[in-house]
């Protein structure tokens, strides 16, 4: 039967081994993988400005981006392709809550410059290589 000492060694050994593998993989991801997948060279000052506004206003508290966030409002990873810059700016600059289907978005009333930043940020997000997410709906063309 397993002794307490063996159980302790299993715990310590496993933890050490998998921590090391995890750290090595993380270093590769952080230094090479993510910069390449996200096209870090396209991260202009405007994109970063948008990124800061995204964070300050907690947009993720309602929407998802790359599938992360809350499930109250639409997924925004590909919003640039869906709406285009002009419609996006109109929503962001609106002084009344945007609520085309009943659920309200906060009326931010962003300045033109801020709205441009957020649009640039979301355009940059839309170009990230996300390993195939969001998938094309597989049954879309099967409906009659």
């Amino acid at each position: 039967m397993l002794s307490k000492k063996q159980a302790l060694l299993f715990f310590l050994g496993g933890t050490l081994l998998f921590s090391i593998i995890f750290i090595v993989m993380s270093i590769d991801t952080v230094t090479k993988g993510i910069p390449a997948h996200t096209h870090e060279e396209n991260m202009t000052a405007e994109v970063i400005h948008g990124r800061v506004l995204w964070d300050e206003n907690n947009c993720m508290g309602c929407h998802t981006l790359m599938g992360e966030g809350a499930y109250y409002a639409p997924e925004l990873t590909k919003v640039y392709d869906r709406l285009g810059p002009d419609a996006m700016k109109a929503i962001l600059m609106s002084k009344v809550p945007w609520a085309p289907h009943g659920r309200k978005m906060v009326a931010y009333g962003f300045s033109e410059n801020d709205a441009k930043g957020i649009v640039a940020f979301l355009k940059w997000i839309g170009e990230i290589d996300l390993n195939g997410y969001p998938a094309d709906p597989p049954l879309k063309n099967r409906l009659k």
């Binding site: 599938g67 289907h101 049954l139």
Partner: protein, 450 residues
Amino acid sequence: MKYKSQKVAYWAFALSMLLIILQITYGFIQAFAHLGYDGLHEWIPFNTSMAVHKNLLVVWILSGFMGAAYYIIPDEADHELVGVKWAYIQLAALAAVGVTAVIGFHFGWWEGRKFLEIPRELDFLVVIDVLLFLFLILATLWKGKQRTTTAMILSVGLLAAALLYLPGMIWFDNHALDSFFRWWVVHLWVEGVWELIMGGILAYLLIKLTGVDREVIEKWLYVIVGLTFLSGILGTGHHYYYTGAPSYWLIVGGIFSALEPLAFMAMALFALNMYNKGEKRHPNKMAVKWTLGTAIVSFAGAGLLGLAHTLPQVNLYTHGTLVTAMHGHLAFWGAYGMIVFAIITYIMPNVTGRKIYDSALGNYAFWLSLVGMLGMVASFGAMGVAQVTLERRLGLDFMTVQGELHSHFWVLIITASIFTIGILLYVWNFIKYGLPNDEAIGMEDKFEKI
């Protein structure tokens, strides 16, 4: 209880009780907002209620862990808690930081990072507060007569949880990098070091409630936490599938996260086996129920419902849908909510000296909260599957699909009300115990033979 200083635990638990009620209140605000009843939108928009709901959850669970440690460590180490006065200050400061953060969320003082919304300025106060807590716990352990495995695992879990908070405080211009390190906190907490804390508390409860030999229980505790890290560390990869990281995480994250349920299964089998093996029955029957309950429900919520969407092929469609919310509720409640309730249920008679062990009130609280939560999870699940089918597989528009989910949201509200009644009864029972009492010192509870 053995030591006067263990009374501190009561106040940590009282804070948990207060905060869970607030958390649930904001949950209802969110559920109604989903249905379009958003009269509070001006003052509490959805992202505010979401930030409050999640952060209060984390704070009340941490406060529960702290209370557990303030009771368990002196008992296990055989020594009064060091610096009792500081323990009260530490808890008051935690409450103050928590309340400040929640008020701030109503005025846009936050960061848009799921689960880590507390602004960086306050993060530093959190860190100082937690360091103080850790200092008191570790100093007690240091000065104590003995260092048991249970106490060590609990303390290592608490220490590691504090350290892992730090990567979440770094700013990255690249949003995908921010997300990468956010999971070092969120995932490595709930699927890593918090399981150590849970395992430590569970082992303590089983030692106290079943009378099985400590050596046996602690041996299996090592195996469980070994399985946790064996699977959970590389399992972090299940958050890196579709968030801008390389594709090797699909394989590594897929395989190792699929092994994570093993640790929860081991925990459930462990608790049930020890209970069956135990030749004595503890009079605190409610504590036994909560203890076995947390072991089983965490396996269902974290293990099975986690497995349901952790393979990359499945997650491609369920990622960021109400399927995630289904899993999030049962996992958090079953593992961390119920373990906190279990230790509170065990400790309350010991610190107040009132031996209310098996009341109708306590039973209603247990069963209504359990049934209510299962109902909530079923309605989130139904909505999630419908959302995945309609939006992700058939390609209908997000808001069109949400409109189709209305009746399910009503079921969510009804089942959440059942859950809430259970919680309110529990809190009422908590209040009925009265305040901690010095007369309870030395009144050790005795086993009954079966």
